[in-house]
Amino acid sequence: MTVSAVLIVIMAALFACGAYAMLERSLTRVLIGFLLLGNATNLFLLVVMGRPGIAPFFGAGDVDEMSDPLPQALTLTAIVITFAVSAFLLALIYRSWQLGQADTVVDDEEDIAVRDRGAVEEDEMDDETSIEDDDEDATTDFIGTETAPITVLHHRDLDGIRDDAPVDRPGRDGRDGGDAR
């Protein structure tokens, strides 16, 4: 198979830049990275097409001189898919910006909550009988010590409230939110 060196070099550069841009936190850069990666892959499909020839129409010429039509068909399909997904990503980025999250990939709050949750709360989880009572004690304990961060309580108490999904909204916000002293 004969391939074009120029295509390969461009493809490699696009893959490299695309991967780099996709690692950024900014969503716009992620989008740019995705576009570069998508185009790099399309170029890859053209590379495997081999030596370009005449247009592969029936009766246009000798079969041996024709380009391989299949990679072209695959590339066209891939371009359409990339196009549709980019449009969706743009809409998503716009919505994310609208919601005031800047345009960055945000950390998962639940993950942070799990990380922050110290041994104290693990004990509470295993204690199946009297969580409400322990809660009172835990609060006073935390205020007394500097090492125990307030954020622990903060996250636990707010995780229901922050969840603004319409279906998911907990019915007991008032009660649980009330003791976020």
Partner: protein
């Protein structure tokens, strides 16, 4: 008979179009979706029966092109079985979401696009299952992924956008990897037809095969959430609406596993990465279930157990004996249904108690006994207690592994048992906290009121009361799915025989001649 095959994909797409046209009339949308999926389920059942009784796969060349050139749809027992199971699951979840939507009473945009997206998702899933060439598999993946992007960000609230972004970016990376792998395979072999690939693959040097093999596996492992590539899943699934999470958890990762099965058994039969897969499977099982242990939120616990149980499937695949493959298929069917049912039950818990945090929810056993049962049965099933299907599936897997009998296999068996016990522990802890624990805030009186409103007879007094009413259709659907999980146990014999025959067939390669014979058109 072969004329029925393209309908599996065409019908849902057509239904999606019709549902979109009738965006304003929800009743029409619901009718179209339910009819479409019922038809697909019926067609799939007919196909399964035909394929199973004749013992011969059906291959259809779309558009009448000769077989290696055109797009080939290929229905063997495995594809037919999975289409049947997934259409049942999709139908059940659809009914559940109809109940939820009717109760929420929101007639705005999310509902308008929900049904079309859902049907397109179904079309993508079916297309991926019956794809006879790699590129069609890629297109199937893209169809279902694009629909899933819409569904996971439904309503575009802050948390869903956040989770959706992660999900979408990860999926995009895996899609690009998959496409690049297809390009490389085409460059090496000049075809994307799976049967033809299987014939030509042996001509390649081992190292080239390995590169192509690993590229494909990498792409599929992201989709299937296999351990080092699984972190996106528990992050993104729990924020979606309950029915969406249920169907994603049941089906999307399984499509990835299905693609892995096809890759391993049909394309790269001689190229062996099973040791790597075994280690990865062990890590997936253990890390997944440890993640579940650390969580305090039901949906997240279930998402982590989902990851963990994908490990069992990879385990079975990596043993690579007919017995093990049969067990893997059985486990896959079991897991699709049980995981979906559990997520539906959690959807009910969320609606009933207003939260899915096991630290907040309590006393549901008394307040909603039926719900407690509906959660408990699939939970112990997933945990692998006898006599349920989870136990049968795991036992079959361990049996197949023990038959091979290498030290690594025994390590995997121990890992599997530990994972099973930890799953059971996690789910029982959740059950104890959310259901068994007494709710001191409620006097006996309100408990009675709750119970009545749960049955749907009491008019909702205030907003909180309204939230607590579970529409009957949601409960009925979940109960139906629980019945299906029990049926998996009751009819384990015939189902297991079918799965075993699939396992046998998987290791005999499909040839182009077979494709030509099977294609009736």
């Amino acid at each position: 008979m072969s004329a029925l095959v393209p309908l599996l994909v065409a019908l849902p797409l057509l239904g999606a179009g019709i549902a979109l046209v009738f965006g304003r009339q929800r009743r029409v949308q619901v009718g179209v979706s339910v009819i479409t999926l019922t038809l697909v389920a019926a067609i799939a059942a007919v196909l399964l029966y035909t394929v199973d009784s004749s013992g011969q796969a059906i291959a259809v060349s779309v558009g009448g092109w000769p077989i290696p050139f055109g797009i080939v749809l290929y229905v063997d027992r495995l594809a037919a079985l999975l289409v049947v199971i997934s259409s049942i699951v999709l139908l059940a979840v659809l009914l559940f979401s109809v109940g939820q939507g009717a109760a929420d009473g929101d007639d705005d945009t999310p509902v308008t696009i929900f049904h079309p997206s859902y049907l397109i998702l179904s079309a993508g899933i079916f297309n991926a299952f019956i794809a006879g060439d790699l590129f069609n598999l890629y297109v199937g993946f893209e169809i279902l992924l694009v629909a899933s992007y819409v569904l996971i960000t439904l309503g575009s609230t802050e948390s869903r956008i956040r989770a959706g972004v992660v999900y979408i970016v990860v999926s995009l990376v895996s899609s690009i990897l998959f496409l690049a792998a297809i390009a490389a395979i085409y460059g090496a072999l000049g075809t994307v037809n799976i049967a033809q690939l299987a014939e030509r693959m042996t001509e390649l040097p081992d190292s080239t095969q390995l590169v192509l093999h690993l590229m494909l596996l990498l792409a599929f492992s992201i989709k299937a959430a296999v351990f080092p590539l699984s972190f996106w899943l528990p992050d993104s699934y729990p924020t979606a609406p309950a029915p969406v999470t249920a169907v994603f958890a049941g089906l999307l990762t399984k499509v990835g596993v299905y693609a892995m099965i096809r890759t391993e058994t049909q394309i790269f039969r001689d190229n062996d990465v099973n040791t790597l897969l075994l280690i990865v499977a062990l890590a997936t099982m253990i890390v997944g279930v440890l993640g579940a242990l650390a969580q305090a939120e039901l949906k997240r616990i279930l998402s982590f157990t989902l990851v963990s149980h994908v490990g069992y499937l990879v385990f079975g695949l990596a043993i690579a004996t007919p017995l093990a493959l049969g067990a893997t298929i059985y486990y896959m069917v079991h897991h699709i249904i049980v995981q979906t049912t559990l997520f539906l039950a959690v959807g009910l818990v969320e609606r009933r108690a207003g939260s899915t945090s096991i630290l907040k929810v309590k006393g549901l056993m008394r307040a909603a006994p039926l719900l407690a049962v509906l959660f408990f049965i699939p939970a112990i099933n997933l945990g692998g207690l006898p006599p349920f299907s989870g136990f049968i599936g795991k036992l079959a897997l361990f049996d197949a592994a023990a038959e091979v009998g290498t030290p690594l296999m025994y390590i995997l068996i121990v890992g599997g048992i530990v994972t099973s016990l930890l799953t059971l522990y996690t789910l029982m802890r959740a059950w104890n906290l959310a259901f068994w624990r007494e709710d001191d805030d409620h006097t006996e009186e309100t408990g009675v009121v709750d119970r009545i409103s749960y049955l749907g007879d009491a008019p909702a007094a205030d907003d909180e009361g309204a939230r607590r009413v579970i529409p009957r259709i949601m409960t009925a659907t979940t109960a139906g799915m629980v019945a299906v999980t029990v049926a998996l146990t009751v009819f384990a014999g015939p189902l297991y025989t079918l799965c075993a025959s699939i396992g046998d067939a998987l290791l005999t390669p499909v040839t182009l001649v077979q494709l030509d014979d099977g294609g009736g058109s």
